[in-house]
Amino acid sequence: MTNLYLGVDIGSVSINIVAIDEENELAFKLYTRNSGNPIELVKEGLTKFKEEIELEEYKIRGVGVTGSGRQLIAYVLGADTVKNEITAHARASTYYHPEAGTIFEIGGQDSKLIIVEDGIAVDFAMNTVCAAGTGSFLDHQAERLGVPIEEFGELALEADRDVRIAGRCTVFAESDMISKQQYGFTKPEIINGLSEALVRNYMNNLVRNRVLEGEYIFQGGVAANIGIKAAFEEEIGAEVIVPEHHDVMGAIGIAMLAKRDVKRSGQESSFRGFDLTRQEFETTSFECEDCANNCEVIKVIADGKIIAVTGDRCGKWSASLIGDSAAAESRSRNKENTAARTAEEENKDFNKTAEELEVDLYKIDPEKEKQVMKELEELEEQEEELEDSDTDDKEDNVYV
């Protein structure tokens, strides 16, 4: 029996599933485009996994989910680890490239920069305001030029001349591209210009004034594009490494993190099993109107049974669920909670006054207080005198 750890990366453009063994060797790898229904795609992916692998020989010991759609899928799968993609990516690349200093990660809708020191992420940046500098930007332009995105990179290398294209905004890039076509630049040159624009954007928005140090790792879906890789190399003047599994690094990283978490806690995986591929999932949400917070509460339902409730700040709705499949995080939370509750029962000493904490910050300056109160008294007297002398002016006194 071999132990396997499942890693699932729910990105905006692709959904990736991998399975790694104890030695971090890949036993299964799947990269699919996200067409908008992540639950179905994950189910399909798992079905494929079942077909490819002799299930009797393997045991799923842990499941990790990352990517922007991680919360929902974590409930669906019964994940042990739910983590953001930055941590996951950093984990995978520092495993394959322990000497890494800088990680460029360009995905479908976001781009990230991770600075690593001695195998630990020490700083990161993420694109802030728009799609410029991401895979979607390239996708859009490829479509516009009628070039399949897979051939984009190679074409860029055929360029003879340099052309500068405004790359900050997808729409403006398009109008600039059209005018550059009129000047007689060829397709490869335009594509090369776009690649350079993307890298320039990345440097301006993410790297800013940071000092980059090698090795340089380039991963994410866009790393398949050798034109962008070349543009990066030109910009920083050093070699850029594209890891073998660059497209599923997030999934590998999260599988590794799941393995770590399961080992550390020593618990069984809360994976809901392969039966889930036959279940129907549904999510509903409503706005709770019990108080001014107006929390948006989300329910995840599997075959008519509620498996997760989240989003409420006071815990009223999530506590109503006695679930078996909530993420590991919330399970451990509940444990702590019961511990706290027993503590509460023990401690029924209601009369005990809480410790009086007089924080420095709140101290009143007694001198100032005396002075102000004295001033106020004087004011009061002055006004009384005024009132005595001229009662008609009273209105004016109140409204100055």
């Binding site: 971090n24 922007s68 919360q71 983590k83 953001n84 993609e85 930055i86 941590t87 495993y95 630990i120 992420a121 020490v122 700083d123 990161f124 993420m126 802030t128 770590r260 080992k263 550390r264 108080c291 001014a292 917070n293 107006n294 409420d312 700040r313 006071c314 815990g315 999530s318 939370r333 509940n334 702590e336 909670n337 511990a339 706290a340 503590a343 509460e344 401690n347 209601f350 005990k352 006054t353 809480a354 410790e355 904490l357 924080v359 420095d360 910050l361 709140y362 101290k363 009143i364 300056d365 100032k368 207080e369 102000v372 109160m373 106020l376 008294e377 009061e380 109140v398 409204y399 100055v400």
Partner: protein, 360 residues
């Protein structure tokens, strides 16, 4: 006069202040999607985010026949100083005849402050005013004390349970009549919270994050994507640079100590001139947090905020010199919750990873 005010932080305090002075006070609505949309629609596009939220709140209040709004001013080149005037103009253009009373800090212009208070005091005597301010200050102090405790305990306990206690406490404080009530309720809730004290781990295992930034987004949970709860969720304690007491001490309360000035002085190392808002004191708070042994700083900046834009740039240098990681988050109506969560989580992971080497 039918009075109201912008919603910021635990609003009981302002309501109590105005009520104790004998006014008819309308409780402003808590910012939500509808209010923010309304505010964005009727505000100038390039106004900063707090301005837009407040516009929304005012417009919502107009439905309740409020005729006077009380708000705070700002000092230095920060646009908060113009909020009152511009809001008045927007409301007038929309056909609402309202008056906006702007409270400026007594430290800036004592005479103007005196006149504003004179208007607000109505029929109460000056001595009463003094007492009311003292009671309200007492209340704020207690609220902040409980909130600080909540921000620590939420890191180690079920967030719902702790939030519930905090919400109940705020509700109960609405009923207070005098300082004895304040003390009684305070003890009640601090006792409730004290039962969870055991959950706090040993000093070496505690992680603390300081939150600095523009006062409105730091104080108001409903517009900052509940950043504190997000941080707490990952087992990190939180402390903010700004609490209600700070605002009151700065703007209303005349007899406070000197500690705020000292913190601001620390910030002078990075921002020499007063550029308005809390930019300089934020830098001071960041250094102060580091000195108190905090592990990281989250800097909140509303979109379009000038002073915080400056402090964001300076924060890079501060981070390097004082060796404390800083994460800047820009907040406006476009900010997606998932995005903030990802950044915060990655930031906190980064801080924790530094401390232990893993088994691969």
């Amino acid at each position: 006069m039918r009075l109201s005010f912008p919603y910021m932080g635990p609003t009981i305090v302002y309501k109590k202040l105005l009520e104790l002075l004998g006014h008819d006070v309308v409780m402003p609505p808590k910012p939500n999607k509808e209010i923010i949309d309304l505010g964005v629609k009727y505000s100038p596009e390039f106004a900063c985010f707090p301005f837009k939220v407040i516009t929304g709140i005012y417009l919502k209040l107009m439905e309740k026949w409020v005729d006077t709004l009380v708000t705070s001013g700002g000092h230095g080149p920060c646009r908060a100083g113009y909020f009152g005037e511009v809001h008045k103009k927007i409301l007038q253009d929309l056909g609402y005849d309202v008056e906006i009373i702007v409270i400026d800090s007594p430290h800036d212009d004592y005479k103007y402050f005196y006149e504003v208070i004179k208007r607000l005091k109505g029929d109460s005597s000056w001595l009463q005013v003094g007492r009311v301010i003292k009671t309200v200050y007492q209340l704020t102090k207690v609220l902040d004390e409980i909130e600080k405790k909540v921000e620590i305990l939420r890191a180690y306990n079920d967030k719902g349970t702790i939030n519930r206690i905090w919400m109940d406490a705020q509700e109960e404080f609405y009923q207070i009549k005098n300082t004895a009530d304040i003390k009684r309720i305070k003890n009640k809730y601090l006792n409730k919270l004290a039962k969870f004290d055991k959950s706090i781990p040993a000093e070496a295992e505690r992680y603390r994050i300081g939150i600095i930034g523009e006062i409105y987004v730091v104080l108001e949970q409903s517009i900052n994507n509940q950043i504190e709860e997000k941080v707490n969720r990952f087992g990190f304690e939180v402390e903010r640079s700004q609490y209600l007491t700070d605002w009151i001490r700065e703007n209303i309360f005349p007899f406070t100590g000197k500690d705020l000035e000292e913190i601001e002085k620390k910030g002078e190392e990075f921002i020499e001139a007063d550029i308005g808002g809390h930019a300089r004191s934020n830098m001071g708070h960041a250094i102060d947090f580091k000195e108190k042994g905090f592990d990281g700083i989250i800097h909140l900046k509303p979109f379009g905020c000038l002073p915080e834009l400056v402090s964001q740039s300076v924060a890079d240098d501060l981070s390097e010199k004082y060796e404390i990681p800083v994460l800047s988050i820009t907040i406006d109506e476009q900010t997606a919750d998932a995005n903030v969560l990802t950044r915060v989580e990655a930031f906190l992971d980064m801080i924790k990873e530094k401390d232990y080497r893993e088994v691969m």
